[in-house]
């Protein structure tokens, strides 16, 4: 397991599939995390193998990708349902939840990645 900081943000593929969020293309564009090369090595995970990213606010399983230019202290997930499963909902009294800079851990897992509908269904209490 590694300790890191979660950042979520737009990517061009996530943006280009925004209006087809039930599609495989959107799933491929938004359901993954990027890690530095050394973090991937430290976890003993290869590209597209699933990892569990956890914060104080939840956990999400996504396949791992590599961003060779990413610092070791950052894990990146494109904005969307998978990132938002674990972002910080607290608005600090100013309206805006914490979509970036959330302390997170990453570990290898054999759990499956939920698709959009399965992920949303977990919010039914």
């Amino acid at each position: 397991m590694i300790g890191t900081i979660l950042i979520s943000a737009r990517t061009i593929d996530q943006g280009a599939t925004l209006e087809e969020k039930t599609s495989q293309a959107y799933f491929d564009a938004a359901a993954y995390c990027e890690l530095s090369e050394s973090n991937l090595k430290a976890l003993g995970v290869s590209i597209d193998q699933n990892v569990k990213v956890a914060t104080a606010h939840g956990t999400v399983v996504v396949p791992a990708k590599i961003d060779a230019r990413l610092p070791d202290d950052i894990v990146f997930i494109p904005m969307g349902p998978w990132a938002n499963a674990i972002v910080d909902p607290d608005t600090c009294g100013c309206g805006m939840p914490g979509f970036k800079g959330v302390p997170a851990t990453v570990e290898p897992t054999t759990d499956p990645v939920l698709n959009m509908k399965e992920l949303m269904a977990t919010y039914k209490e």
Binding site: I5, L70, N84
Partner: protein, 439 residues
């Protein structure tokens, strides 16, 4: 083949108004000049599925959505809003100002909270502007004059792909005739982004330390660099000094800022401090700031809400007059407090873009969705009303990220009702149910 020229792209806040769209048999077959995002948006309805029919869940969230008529869906929506004690209307940013105006009327009529997607985007920038002001200019002025362009916490290569060629670093301006050669480009971001590849200087700060870095720049600009430590925001002091020198040497500097400022630690205080930095720099130089707005007409929402109700977002109409206090009346705050008992959204997708805790409450209350496409919001919506796509299937006005209004064109015919028509019909139904007669 009929080619419509000067088409406005309705994806991002750049609102590029030079697209060339080929229409054959009421179908869009080609979109020229757009970026990948603009092409996907403009041709969307011919590339993938859309919501074809209005739909209602008859037996709660566990039941399936069943097709119905527009009338039935609109009546059901009005019934939900009239029965609610604390409804909220959210979104309305990927649509026209004309539709937003109707959304304001509906919110007022139902005593709703009323908020835009700025709640999860540039809301803190509005607060920062109200605290300190935001010296700005048009993108046209920026293109012609700016010789120092700082992208702070934004990644236009991915989010606003034509920004650099049309308005900023690559654009040839009246006083920057050689384009990039006449300009310096800086990126401030914890990630070494694709935008940073072409930057003259990248300040890869530690996540969440934007405020610290702005403060350090202010200290240097004000002649107090001696008080600064050797490392600032995870960066060597020399790098921060380099940026300060670039700022001081520029004739016209601009800070384009994004979610790296608004969503990280400090929130609106970081935007507020950017404004203070500009105030310092403007003692001797010329500096402006522009928020990189995502939804193409989120700027228009702010304009319409401000001229209709006095505030740009997070408005509470429940008191009979408009009340505004974003940390209290913002959508995510009221959802997290489990305060609202009905939800209507249009031209936005809170299901995909809200944190988990907010969505849990949306699964507990009646929800109405007005949208062209199925998305995570559809999953918890009890009433789904399909809408025409503004800027493609109907015309209207949108505001660019720099506050310039631009007229969107209608490119093809449609049988779908527009957001404006849907909202007008819901308002009439609400008035009827409340015994006030039709519109």
């Amino acid at each position: 083949m009929p080619v419509i020229k000067d088409v406005v792209c309705t994806f991002c806040g750049c609102l590029c108004d030079d697209l060339e769209v080929t229409v054959e048999d009421n179908k869009i077959t080609k979109v020229g000049k757009a970026c990948k995002l603009g092409r996907a948006k403009t041709m969307g309805m011919f590339l993938h599925e859309r919501i074809e029919k209005p739909m209602i869940r008859k037996n709660g969230k566990d039941s399936e959505l069943e097709e119905c008529s527009y009338d039935e869906a609109i009546t059901k929506a009005a019934e939900i809003l009239v029965a609610a004690k604390r409804p909220i209307s959210y979104g309305w940013c990927s649509t026209s100002c004309e539709a937003i105006e109707k959304a304001v009327v509906l919110a007022e009529e139902t005593g709703s909270l009323f908020d835009s997607t700025a709640n999860v985007c540039h809301g803190p920038s509005a607060l920062a502007t109200q605290e300190k002001g935001a010296p700005s200019c048009s993108l046209g002025t920026a293109k012609n004059y700016a010789d120092l362009i700082i992208f702070w916490g934004c990644n236009p290569v991915h989010a606003h792909p034509r920004h650099q060629t049309r308005y900023s670093t690559m654009a040839k301006g009246a006083f920057t005739p050689n384009g990039k050669k006449d300009k310096k480009m800086v990126v401030v971001d914890p990630r070494n982004t694709d935008t940073a590849k072409k930057a003259d200087l990248l300040l890869q700060l530690k996540p969440g330390t934007d405020y610290v870095l702005i403060e350090a720049l202010r200290a240097i600009v004000n002649g107090h660099e001696d008080v600064l430590p050797d490392e600032i925001a995870g960066l060597p002091k020399a790098k921060v000094l380099e940026l300060a020198e670039m700022c001081k040497a520029s004739k016209f500097g601009i800070i384009y800022f994004g979610m790296g400022i608004t969503q990280t630690r400090g929130r609106y205080k970081s935007g507020d401090n950017v404004s203070s930095l500009l105030s310092d720099l403007n003692q001797t130089n010329k500096f402006v700031m522009i928020g990189m707005r995502g939804h193409y007409n989120v700027t228009g929402f702010g304009q319409v809400a401000a001229w209709e109700a006095g505030f740009p977002m997070a408005i509470d109409f429940s008191r009979g007059s408009a009340y505004y206090n974003p940390g209290e009346t913002g959508t995510n705050d009221v959802l997290m407090r489990r305060e609202v008992d009905a939800f209507i959204t249009g031209a936005a997708d809170p299901g995909a873009h809200f944190p988990q805790e907010s969505i849990k409450h949306l699964y507990k209350i009646p929800a109405i969705q007005v949208d062209g496409y199925a998305n995570p919001t559809t999953e918890f919506s009890d009433v789904v009303i399909p809408a025409a796509i503004a800027g493609v299937e109907c015309d209207g006005t949108a505001y660019r990220m720099d506050g310039q209004p631009i007229r969107m064109k209608k490119l093809i015919e449609t049988t779908f009702k527009t957001d404006e028509e849907i909202l007008t019909e819901i308002i009439a139904k609400v008035r009827e149910l409340k015994g006030k007669g039709g519109a």
